[in-house]
Every structure is written in C-alpha cells, then in structure tokens.
Amino acid sequence: MAKRHVTTTVNGEPREFLCEVDQTLLDALRDELGLTGSKEGCGSGDCGACSVMLDGRLVCACLALAVEAEGREVETIEGMAEGERLHPLQRTFLEEAALQCGICTPGFLVAAKALLDRDLDPSETEIRYWLAGNLCRCTGYDKIVRAVQKAAAEMRAEA
Amino acid sequence: MAKVVLPNEVARELAGGLKEVEVEAENYRQLLKALDSRFPGMGDRLRDGVAVAIDGEIFQEPFLELIREDSEVFFLPQIEAG
C-alpha cells in the first residue's frame, strides 16, 4: 500500500510528510513530524488531549485523517508560545496551578485559546461547556477554569 | 510489660484465641522473639507483610523500633499505596 504525500502548514511552517491513508492526523503529527505535544488519551474524540486547530477550527486530531491536512493549516500546542513568550493562557495555567500530571494540558490550552480567540469575556458556564470535551482527571477543573478566567481578564485589559 | 494486641486470625490460630498478651521487650525484634518462644511459629507469621502500630505510630516494616515498658503494640495489615 503506497503512502500518500501530504503538503501542509503546521504552526505557520510548511511541512511535508508521508502517511498511510487511514493514519490519523494525530499519529502523523506525533510519529511523522515529531510533534508529541498532542496526546492520545482515547483515540475516539472523547478526551480532547489531542486538540489542534485545523483551518481555524478546534478539532480532535485523532478524528481527522492525516491526508485531510493536505493544503490546510494545522496549529498545535508547539506553536502556541511566540518564541520565548508564552501565551497568557500558558502563563496563567502555571501561575494558577491549573495542571497536576500535565497530560491533558496541551489539549486544554489549545481549546481554551480557541475560545478566547473568539470571546475574550466568556462566563464561567461558557468556559465549562466549551471545555467539556477536554477531560482532566487530576484537578477537578476548578483551577483550569480560573486560569482561563485570569488569562481572559488580562487579555481584555491589554486589548 | 508492653501490651501486644494480636491480629484476630493469628490469635485464633497460634495463641488459642488469646488476643492480648503482655511481653517484656526493649525493641520490636525482641518482642517478636518473645512472642515466638511463647507461641511457636508466631515469629515467622508476623515477620513479613505486616505493619505494626507502636503507641499509635504505624511502622510498615518494623525491626528495631523501641518498645517502652507501657507501650501498646498493634499488628495491622500493611497499608498500600494509592
């Protein structure tokens, strides 16, 4: 079975890779491009640990085929900081202790950024529902929600 | 004499149902020896895999812990990690 050649953009950089037709985008990111920040917690779209942006939409990378990335733009956790400068969410997650084991953290950050990119003033309920597809087993979500609220407040103040 | 409370099963099997015994010992190893000489087999039975509470403090792997004249010693299952 011949592999497919895919040309895509990942975190703003042109990237190419070879993949099986039925390989997921998550496996291609991790195994072909070495971007292991996106995690596989379930492989069925139920945990959100593999959250990435595909052409500006938040998706589970385990539920997209790698071949679908052809000609499209993918953003992952590895592209969230601008060089040395952390995204406000990355900083507030650290300040608010919004992670314990850290396995779900990349997915939460990518998902939370997608929320703040469209709404800088979400209510607690909106944050909780937006992030309902991201499972965290350690924190009970409290500090994650607070970190998102804090980042939003800071970004509102900057805006 | 330190007061020693045996586990129910050990008391039944090796001490004729006697649950509490008094033992003269300065440390845990001596205590175990004393128990073994009074109830043959008890030393082996209590050597591994049991924890002991001496005056309220639990020791998972007791060996030379000091026993006082008025100490209370309880045998317990080892506490597992979660």
Binding site: T36, G37, K39, L94, Y129, A132, G140 | A53, P77, G82
Partner: protein
Amino acid sequence: MSDSASRFKWVGTRPVRPDGLDKVTGRANFGADFTMPGMLVGRIVRSPHAHARIAGIDASAALAVPGVKAVVTAEDFPEIPDGELMVGEGPMNFRDLSCNVMARDKALYDGHAVAAVAATSRAAAEEAVDRIRVDYEVLPHVVDVLEAMEPDAPLLHETMFTEGVEPKPERPSNVASRCEFTLGDLDSGFAAADVVVEGEYVTEAVHQGYIEPHAAVASVGEDGQCTVWCSSQGQFMVRAYCAKLLGMENSQIRVTPSEIGGGFGGKTTIYVEPVALALSRKAGRPVKIVMDRDEVFRATGPTSSAHVKVRVGATRDGKITAGDAELRFQAGAFSGSHVQLGCMCGFAPYDIDNVRTVGYDVVVNRPKCAAYRAPGAPMAAFGVESALDDLAEKLGMDPLELRLANAAREGTKAAYGPKFREIGYAETVEAALSHEHYRAKLGPNQGRGVASGFWFNIGGQTSAALHINEDGTAVVVDPNPDIGGSRASMAIMAAEVLGIDYDRVRPIVPDTSSVPYSDMTGGSRVTFSVGMAVVEAGQKVIEELRNRAAKIWDVDPDGVVWENGEARPASSNVGEFEPLSLTALAESSAKTGGPISGQATINARGVGPGFGTHVCDVEVDPETGGVTVLRYTAVQDVGRAIHPSYVEGQLQGGAVQGIGWALNEEYVYSEAGTLENPGFLDYRVPVASDLPMIDTVLVEVPNPRHPYGVRGVGEVPIVPPLAAVANAIYHACGTRMNHLPASPPRLLAALDAAKLPEAAD
C-alpha cells in the same frame, strides 16, 4: 491561614512548578512520547471471553505476516511458584502478577492478555494479532461479588482455599480470605444503644481513569542488559517486578521514568513493561507498547465493586456505642482487593468503644483490581457515613454535630486498634460547621449532604540527594515520579532548608541507576517522605558547607553557622569574617575538598494520618433522575501545605473523582461477562460542565514528626464524596441511594419506587 508566612520563606508559598514550562509547551515527554531507533510496535492479543481455558495458541499465521518479528505467550515467561515474596515495599504474589500480565492456562476476564506480537508497523502488528489462533474452551463465568461467594459459583482458581477461617475449608472457593477487626464488645455496645440504624450499601467498580494510557519502550541487549522507558508510579517497582517476571536480576534492568499522565494508584503495578521486554528479548530490537483506551479499561486497575453492610448504635444524646460492618469486596481475577484497609477506615474518624468489621476478599472474572486513591476506604465510608446520616436524622441531630460529638481526637483508640497521636479531625468538622456554605439557603428539590473520611498516609523507604552545582545552584534528586507537582514541593523544601532562592533549585526525577531505591509514588507519601529525605540531605550539605567555610576561615567548624543561605561566624569570638554565600563556597569547592553534595536514605517514620469533611449541595430532577452538583466544599487537615495550590488541587481532584464514583462512573458487564463500556464515552468521568468550583479549606494541624509539619493529602479527599453526594440526594428528594452510582436510571427507579418524596414523608 497559618503562621507559615512568618516562619518560613518558601514553605507555604505558591511558586511556578519547575516542570511547568515543559508541560504547557508540549515538550514534556510522557510514556508514549519516547522512541528508539529500530523500534518495533508491540500489540497484545486479549481474551474476548470472561473465563476460558486456553487449549492452545497457534502463532504461525501471525509470524508469516511481513514485518512481524516476534510473538510471545506465557511460555516466554518463567513459571513462578505460588506464594508471596517480599519485594520492595511489600509482599507480592508474583505468580498472580505473571498470570495477570500474560494468561497461563486460563483467561480469567474479558481483555486478559494471552499473547503479544512485535512488528515493524502498527498495521502489521494488528494484522498479526488477528491471525493468532487461540483455542479457547469457554467456561462459566461470574462477575458479581455476591454470586461469586455462592457455593456453586464458577470457580476461578482450583487452588484457592479461604484464608482466615477456622477450620480450614475443605473445598476451594472464590473467597480468597476473610479478615476481622474487633474493638471492645459489640453486643454490650448495641445493648447500650437507644437507637440503631442499619443498611446495605453497594458500589460499582470504577476505574482510576488517568488520561494517559499505559506505555513502555523496552530494549534488551545481547548481553542481557535492559533499558525500559515508561510511565509508572515507581521506576523501582517496575524494575523489581519485571526482573521477577522475567527471571532477571535488578541490576540487569535500568528503568527511566517518563512524565506520568495520572495514576491514582493504577500505575503501582506493571502490565505492558514485561511484555515489551519479552518481545524485545525475542526480536532483538527495542519494542514499544502503548495501550489503547479500551485496553486500559478492560485490562488494568479498576477498583473493587463492593457490598457493605453497616449497623450503628447510639444513645439518645448522640454518643455512638457500637459500630458493625461487613464488607465484601470484589478483587477481580486474583486476590488482593483492599478490603482490609476498608475495614480499618470506615469507622476511623470516630471514637467508638465497640467496633467490629469483617471483610471478604473475593475473586471474580474481571480485571485484577489495582489500588485507587485511599484503596478500600471510599466504599466503607459510603456505608458508614450514609448510616450516620440516618442516625442523625433519627436522633434529630445536625449531622455535623453528631460527627463532632463522636470525633476521634488525640489519644482516642482508633476503630482499628491503636491510639491516635496528633490528629485534626474535629477541626475539619468545626471548619465545615462554621463555613458559610453550611448555612446557605437551598431551593426546591435541593439538598445538602455531609460526610467525613480518613486515610492512614504512609512513609516508607526513600532516598534523596542534593547536589550543589559549581555556581552555587542546586539539584534535588527526587526519586519519585512527579504525579501532581511534587517537584515544586521538593524545590521549596530544599530552598527552605538551604536558605537559598527557589529558582536556584532544580529538581529532577532520575532513573533506577542514578539514585538509591525509593518506594512508589502513592499512599500520600511523597511530600512527607521525600521531603523528609530532602531536608536531611540539605542538613548534610549545610554541615559540609560549614566545614568548607571553616577551612577558608581557618577556624573550627563549630564556629560556623549557616543562616539565610550564608556561612557566618557563630559569634565575634570566632573572628571577623565576611559571610560566605553558597555561591562563593561552591566556586571554591575545588580548593576546599571537591564537589559538595548530600544524600539521605531513610525509612520515613512519623506519618500523620489525614481526615477530611465534605459538604455537598445537589439538585435532583424528579422527572429524569438527573443530579446536578450545585456547590461543594472540601475541608481537610493537611498538616502543613508546602505548596498550597497543589494541596488544594489534591482536594479538588479527589473530590471530583468521588463525585464521578457517586453519580455516573461504573463498569457495566454484559450477560457474557464482557465489559460493555470500555471507553470515555460510556465510562462517564465528570466533565467541566458537570461541576461547580470546588471550594477548599486547608486546616493545618501540623504533624510534629515532620520537619515542616507535613501530612499526606492526596488520598483522603476521595473518601467522603460518595456519601456526601448520596446524603445530599437523600435530603433533596427523600430517597436514600444505597446503590451507587446514582445514575439517572437508577435514581429515577428509586424515586418511582418510593412514589415521589411527598408520599414518602
């Protein structure tokens, strides 16, 4: 909150964790993130049957698949005699462990590993898995704990004769053991009671639900030297267990811990690690095995389902005179449920003269149970704390006042025997009573529940080292996988003892060859025990630093003190010297005797037990049985919080796991004994929108036998929620949920059976 601020520079502060940056940028390496050149993909063949004799395994078709390099079965693992061996931190039956890792003769549950393959790609490995022919002779099965105890139940192990009963049974059974704990005289205790309540309480099996599946990479060299890179709660445990299962010596195996994506007790044992080693040994190449989520649910560490009977008696004025409980815990396919610990924990918060608890450890055709946060305690507490809620109602007492009136205190004889030393249980009840939450108004269909919980906490064998770098910065070598921020706590304690800045201390978690043995991360032992070792190592470093300063000043070491991170003359009698900073001493270390380092190896003593009290408000939808958690407050005696944010996080996370256990999480088995819900879709852990903020109150009753007053904090918070939620449901709708989870179908059926709350009143 405490006096920490005034007495300590770092203890009690909330700095950013040292490993944080890697975790928010995606750089941190977890179990599945490691690769080696030439690595093969390993996959495991699993039994589709709950109980079956394995008549034969034919791997020839699998080996013919292009790219397949090795197949292993139980024959590739040495047969280990039955019986327990002391390894590391406790007794372990390695025959059971081996048979759980790879079925020998019989498959004992749906998902039980029966063979494994290694191939050059996942596709080839999966193709090979499909082509392995296993000849199963399907046997009758049993998955329910009470059914398994019946005399005519399908028997899992012909060699299992119940331990702990006299006379010794003549016939084998599924009851591995019976245990009993007694205090005082139960009959006279109940005779003295004016009021007696009793009930039967059932909980379903739940999974730890860590988000990271088990993963390991193993490489076996031609000389028999092995390396393993994996996610676990203890690299030394992995090394010792793998060595035993493969007939190796510990020195042959080097285990490097990855970052660990959650464990909660579920990663205190091994599954894929020895299989990867066996495959690598056979294939001559590194092998990586990463479980899929369904494998995690079908074949790894759930906790017991449990059946608990409780009877409690009290006088009219609310003094509990007797407590009696019988616990039947399902252990999975091999003995070893945590029923003994459940027996000890249920009544532990209370001062009761007459107590009896009896436990049964029962095997069934389900995956072998693993520890889960305060193993055994939540099910026991669900029974006792529900019964106490009934008791309070019968007595017309506030449920927290009832608990306070009977609270165990320093000197109280614990229900499991010994006297408590310094504890802070009553303080947690008082804090809950005085919390604004406890007085907040409730609306229709809303109710408030309270419950308490206890956990022993443990110490254990521990090592740590503190290396002073040439520039005066420091490395803390912390031998325990960091599951929830412990590196931050170690850096805080190291900075505190050395008197230097937190940012100048860098903690690392090393492999098994780089630091002496340490027990696992678990049982709420790490901050306590490793912290103690770090402090001791720090004191050794300080002693050395004083020696070095004494050499430089040409004075007696006794004339040098260490204060605020500097060596100073103890008094003006010693002489007039400018203080020497750690940096200065480190930079001159070549002249004064070489590198500066301290190491401590201890068996940590002086553990302080933990208690918590939770308050929960729920609303019940009487037409659908849906339950909404409106508000939740977790109060706990934490000794002293080294990094309060991560202590709060333990309380919040534990509470939410308990809420999941109470409301929607459960293992569902089909008639055929196969697991119906091996995924996060139908195994329903709480999601963010299910929950309110989880308020925490950190009560600090310091543990006087720890240099900074630490008690373990991680286990206790999962103990109270089951009953706190069930009690809240009862007060919302008048229906007592004796069977958890109180999932909507189960709750609606109970509501309908009670003919709506109005009729029940």
